[in-house]
């Protein structure tokens, strides 16, 4: 399978297999005009299988989203066909307007203008809780 290498853009590598589509959705990559490739289940010596996302444009990506979905991923910035920068990702302390609170009793369900903010409350178990009602974020939302 051939995926063209990119000249100027972003490669999100070392994504745990199965998390690529979720990242694609939460990063709103479907709204981009440029070429975007999601490569699933790539053989990896370290990870067994992994996903990769290639974005053929130098656009700002929300690092917090990547840290939330898969803190083990790496972000490579490509300039003139070579890697100019490699960023390791960590779990963000807070997440704003990335996921929504699913608690029907939460104030965010009625106050439409409110930001949906989640705070990392348990790093070991990757638990985020809504700052308003403290409901735990479901990892599949």
């Amino acid at each position: 399978m051939n995926i063209d290498s990119i000249q100027n853009g972003i490669v999100i590598d070392h994504i745990n297999a199965g998390y690529g589509m979720k990242l694609y959705e939460l990063l709103n990559l479907d709204s981009l005009d440029c070429s975007v490739a999601i490569i699933k289940n790539v053989n990896s010596r370290k990870m067994g299988k992994k996903d990769i996302i290639k974005i053929d444009a130098d656009i700002p990506v929300n690092i917090d989203v990547i840290g939330y979905v898969d803190p083990g991923a790496t972000v490579n910035i490509i300039k003139d066909g070579v890697r100019a920068n490699k960023m390791n990702i960590s779990m963000p302390k807070t997440l704003t307007n990335v996921i929504k609170c699913k608690n029907p009793r939460c104030i965010t369900t009625t106050e439409q203008e409110l930001d949906h903010v989640f705070r990392l409350t348990d790093e070991e178990n990757k638990v985020y809780r809504c700052v308003y009602c403290e409901t735990k974020a479901e990892r599949n939302n």
């Binding site: 939460c106 104030i107 106050e111 809504c130 700052v131 308003y132 009602c133 409901t135």
Partner: protein, 307 residues
């Protein structure tokens, strides 16, 4: 601007300070009768509540202050679609401090972030009710002389009961505390309370469905009401509402110095025959609630440099 949304917003030292102030008010109420002269408390109750609202109002009057309020959510701008944040900003122009109850969880935090004055959460849905916990803590302090070395039985709705979660959180900060959690299977303490508080802090607890079996161990028995408004399904409410009813017979094996507490209102969880038992503390709790609200209003107004 300092507000109190959750009882954990207050450190142990601050809780001690509030208890000290409340005890001082009890000892010499005249000393405090004018300290809030010309200050206004706004009570914003978007959900029906009589006792908490009256407690806040009585607290402010006993401090010599004034109270302004909206008669009900239906009569307020909220009915016209005004946001909680806008309501809080508007009321900040009229009052020095806000006490707010709202059916949505997190509403008090939204108000606190928007308001230019301190906000006290008087209950945000099933989430937090810090001044009820303050009432509970003053009661425990006055009845037991402190907070350490206690076995606390919590009985009834431990799933939706916000006062229970707050009390577990608050008491888990003290030494040699043991919890006995008594509830029907469907109303057990949520797993996050067990995991994030009890197990994390290595606090011993047991779960049981049998109240009489554990009665002899208890220093405090905290009864709760199964609340209709927390259920989406009426059938579940009807099935569970009479799970535990405390009667004099069930107290047969209880300690002589047991303290029986309840956040009130009760429906039928505690037989009225127990009201005259010297171990019944629930009406003292109501009174203690007013004193702690007085202490909290004073503290927040001082911190906001409004006193």
């Amino acid at each position: 601007m300092r507000s109190v949304i959750d009882v954990l917003d207050l450190s142990i030292e601050e809780l001690d300070e509030l208890i000290h102030t409340a005890n001082d008010i009890i000892a010499d109420p005249v000393k405090y009768q004018d300290v809030c002269r010309n200050k206004k408390l706004a009570t914003l109750f978007f959900e029906p509540s009589t006792r908490t609202r009256m407690s806040f109002e009585a607290a402010m009057y006993e401090l010599g202050g004034h109270v302004i309020s909206m008669s009900s959510a239906a009569a307020s701008s909220a009915a016209k679609g005004e946001s909680v944040a806008d309501t809080a900003k508007t009321v900040s122009c009229y009052a020095d401090i806000i006490a707010m109850r709202h059916p949505k969880e997190g509403a008090a935090l939204v108000a606190a972030r928007a308001a230019g004055i301190p906000v006290i959460n008087a209950g945000d849905g099933g989430h937090c009710h810090p001044t009820q916990t303050l009432a509970d803590l003053l009661t425990i302090y006055r009845e037991k002389g402190g907070f350490n070395n206690l076995t606390i039985g919590l009985c009834g709705d431990l799933k939706f009961g916000r006062t229970v979660h707050s009390l577990i959180n608050a008491m888990s900060r003290y030494d040699n505390i043991k919890f006995v959690l008594i509830s029907p299977e469907e109303l057990k303490v949520p797993s996050y309370v067990k995991k994030d508080i009890l197990q994390k802090k290595r606090i011993p607890y047991i779960q049981t469905t049998d109240l009489e079996d554990v009665m002899p161990q208890l220093d405090i028995l905290y009864m709760t009401r199964v609340q209709r408004e927390r259920f989406f399904n009426e059938e579940d409410y009807v099935r569970l509402k009479d799970s535990y009813i405390l009667t004099p017979e069930k107290l047969r094996n209880a300690k002589a110095d047991l303290s029986i507490m309840h956040p009130l209102p009760r429906v039928n969880e505690i037989s009225v025959a127990i009201d005259d038992d010297p171990r019944a503390c629930y009406f003292k709790q109501v009174l203690n609630g007013k004193y702690m609200r007085m202490a909290l209003i004073l503290k927040l107004l001082k911190e906001a440099s409004r006193l």
